[in-house]
């Protein structure tokens, strides 16, 4: 049975640009010649430890969650695990085939068809041609892009791309599984399939490493979790304990910042369903209310409120603010909230995040800005491409309306996926 061993691993990086033109070659060669052995223990100018003296072990059937704030060294750890980076010091031992649910579509070429890309990406992940041929139907079935398998992937939506990539990775039969934010891709139904697949591999005794911001998913999936901060393992324990530790650390560090000298602070952004309950899941075409809660240290006269929505891959989907709408708010005092009511949510299924800002009366200077801090998911039975649902109707000739043959049944969101997403959102909003 395979294990993952991280033994006293450190990784040094250099800030800023490296020499990348010939002009800088000579000085750098001279410098290199001057010191005989590369220095592996101390830091030179502009260098820093991304990962410092990190040790952990993952045994068969064990699922290790790695959590921590941004810039803590999680991504570096992941790249060290997948052999993209080599440690400056220490030893990493992984035997067997590494299955990484990371960048699952990195090998895709836009001009090649889905089918061609399955073979290419499969080979990149280390599968033989025969193995891919054997699993091809299962992969396509899992991905749900059957109809488009002979279409160049440049015509795929980003969701289809990711689903096909995940489907290939999920069929790898790895000896070690490494996952990065698996639950942020695809719709809820697809995420469920991924979770089921992970559990299946885990049950077979495969060690699993899961790096995530989704604390709820870590608690649900992992048998152990470590908290990483400033490149070091700060806590190692049962997932719930580690998550508690992380929350405590975050509260401690976040408190002074929030209470800083901002005249007004956004304390929370909630997404309300039609019944008024906050939820991380919303449905295309249904109402959604964005509630921005604030705490003002001094009365703020006629500020503006701005809300931006980005897709998970960074596409700017919508930007709304009170200034452009010629709406004037009164004076904000103490604690309160501003609601943005959306009658029909036009976003198609996917993962999005909300940025919220409170600006001065001129609408120029932000008094507080929370960028991409509030994630949410949209589900629906619509199968349109793109990001927005345009309410529409087909006509033939003059006014002969064409009705859809049969209404699709609204897919019920299963309770596990729903609760996972809900837990995640609560964590984020906390």
């Amino acid at each position: 049975m395979s294990t993952v061993i991280f033994d006293g691993v450190s990784k040094k990086f250099r800030r800023g640009e490296r020499h990348d033109s010939l002009r800088d070659l000579v000085p750098s060669l001279v410098r290199r010649a001057m010191r005989r052995t590369p220095d592996r223990t101390t830091l030179a100018d502009q260098e820093f430890w991304a990962v410092r003296d990190m040790s952990f072990e993952v045994g068969p059937g064990e699922a290790l969650g790695i959590i921590g704030p941004n810039g803590a060294g999680k991504s570096t750890t992941l790249k060290l695990l997948t052999k993209i980076l080599r440690p400056t010091r220490g030893r990493i031992e992984i035997n067997g085939r590494i299955g990484a649910l990371i960048e699952v579509a990195a090998g895709f070429h836009p001009d090649l068809t889905g089918r061609e890309n399955v073979y290419l990406q499969g080979a990149i992940m280390g599968m033989s041609r025969a193995e891919i041929a054997r699993k091809f139907d299962a992969i396509v079935d899992f991905s749900g892009v059957q109809e488009f398998i002979d279409t160049p992937v440049k015509r795929y939506s980003s969701g289809m791309n990711a689903r096909l990539g995940f489907a290939i990775a999920a069929h790898l039969d790895p000896d070690v599984l490494i996952i990065d934010e698996v639950l942020s891709v695809g719709d809820v139904g697809f995420q469920e399939k991924c979770v089921a697949r992970m559990r299946e591999l885990l049950a077979r005794g495969i060690p699993l490493v899961f790096v995530s911001h989704n604390l709820g998913a870590v608690v649900q999936l992992c048998t152990r979790a470590i908290l990483v901060d400033r490149g070091k393992v700060q806590f190692d324990g049962r997932p719930a304990e580690t998550v508690a530790e992380f929350r405590k650390a975050r509260r401690d560090s976040a408190a002074p910042a929030a209470a800083g000298d901002k005249p007004i602070a956004i304390t929370d952004v909630q997404l309300l369903q039609p019944d008024g309950d906050p939820s991380p899941l919303h449905t295309t075409g249904r109402p959604m209310t964005i509630r921005v809660s604030y705490e003002a240290r001094e009365p703020i006269r006629q500020p503006h409120v701005a809300i931006d929505i980005h897709s998970v891959d960074g596409v700017y989907c919508a930007g709304i603010n009170t200034r452009m709408d010629d709406c004037t708010l009164g004076t904000l005092e103490g604690r309160g909230f501003v609601d943005l009511a959306i009658a029909k949510l036009a976003l198609l299924p996917g993962c999005y995040s909300i940025s919220a800002g409170i600006l001065d009366p001129q609408g120029l200077r932000p008094l507080d800005l929370q960028e991409r801090a509030f994630p949410f998911s949209v589900v629906s039975d619509r199968r349109d491409f793109g990001f927005v649902y345009l309410e529409h109707q087909w006509m033939q000739g003059h006014g002969t309306q064409i009705r859809p043959a049969a209404r699709h049944e609204v897919r019920l969101v299963s309770p596990t996926a729903r609760s996972l997403a809900a837990v995640a959102l609560q964590e984020e909003l906390e």
Binding site: F13, S21, I84, L85, G107, L112, Y119, A123, I124, S128
Partner: protein
């Protein structure tokens, strides 16, 4: 030595990926082109026509065989070398998402550039065969050495491809420098004229160019019914050493690629 064994074993393990990447590059190279593989033949043919005019009408030289077949033979071998390198030089930098996000032996990029060019070479070799038939060029036993000669060219090309693809990743000047070097290098090689006739100090320097010995050997076995000489043997041996060295160096630097892209 053990590192060398290790990298070769790893490359063998990933041989299917090498084939896949080559297939991908071939597919992409000729997708949406009308001429397709015709391009592999077109360039050496045009060059052959130009040089035939120069060296049979303007400054006639005697090369022992009909000049067009002499030039085409040299150009086919040279084009394989030059186009392998042209694709290798940017092979790492044009695939940033693969280099920074997924692990597999990075040699695959320059090697697949060489393999793609082998396919082009095979296509233009058919034209060469046709030209040889047309000019009634006899072949003899030395033709059996052709695989060894071609292997030597591939080994030398692969070694150079490893070095320049890596160099361009660290220093982007390399791809500009490459265009100049390859143009000068062609005229310092016996591609379209026998450079061995240059004497004196310049001749001694030019004799150090491995490509001259490789192309001379290629022509010797194909057109002259001659066995390749000592110079070829030395160049072949040196190319193997060079490839081994370049491969080990590439492997040592491989883990810094992601940080430098």
């Amino acid at each position: 030595m053990s590192i060398l064994m290790e990298v070769v074993a790893e490359q063998w393990e990933y041989r299917e990926l090498l084939v896949r990447m080559t297939a991908r590059d071939l597919l992409l190279r000729y997708k949406q082109t009308v001429m397709g593989f015709g391009w592999a033949i077109f360039m050496p043919l045009v060059n052959t026509a130009i040089f035939s005019v120069i060296f049979t009408r303007v400054a006639a030289i005697d090369v022992g065989t009909p000049y067009p077949v002499y030039a085409f033979c040299g150009l086919v071998a040279w084009n394989f070398f030059a186009s392998s390198l042209r694709f290798s030089v940017t092979s790492l930098t044009s695939n940033p998402s693969l280099v920074t996000k997924v692990y597999f032996p990075r040699e695959i990029f320059p090697f697949s550039a060489v393999l793609v060019s082998i396919v082009d070479f095979a296509v233009s070799a058919l034209v060469l065969a046709a030209l040889m038939l047309y000019y009634r060029i006899d072949v003899g036993w030395p033709l059996l050495m052709l695989p060894a000669v071609f292997l030597a060219i591939v080994v030398f090309t692969a070694a150079t491809a490893l070095v320049i693809s890596m160099a361009n990743l660290f220093y982007r000047d390399v791809k500009y420098l490459f265009e100049i070097v390859i143009a000068v290098w062609m005229f310092a090689t016996s591609v379209v004229y026998p450079i061995g006739r240059v004497g004196g100090k310049l001749g001694a320097v030019l004799a150090l160019n491995p490509m001259t010995h490789l192309i001379d050997a290629f022509r010797a076995v194909l057109l002259d019914q001659r066995m390749p000489g000592m110079a070829f043997g030395v160049t072949f041996a040196a190319s193997i050493v060079l490839l081994a060295g370049a491969w080990v160096m590439f492997h040592q630097a491989e883990f810094d690629f992601a940080e430098n892209l």
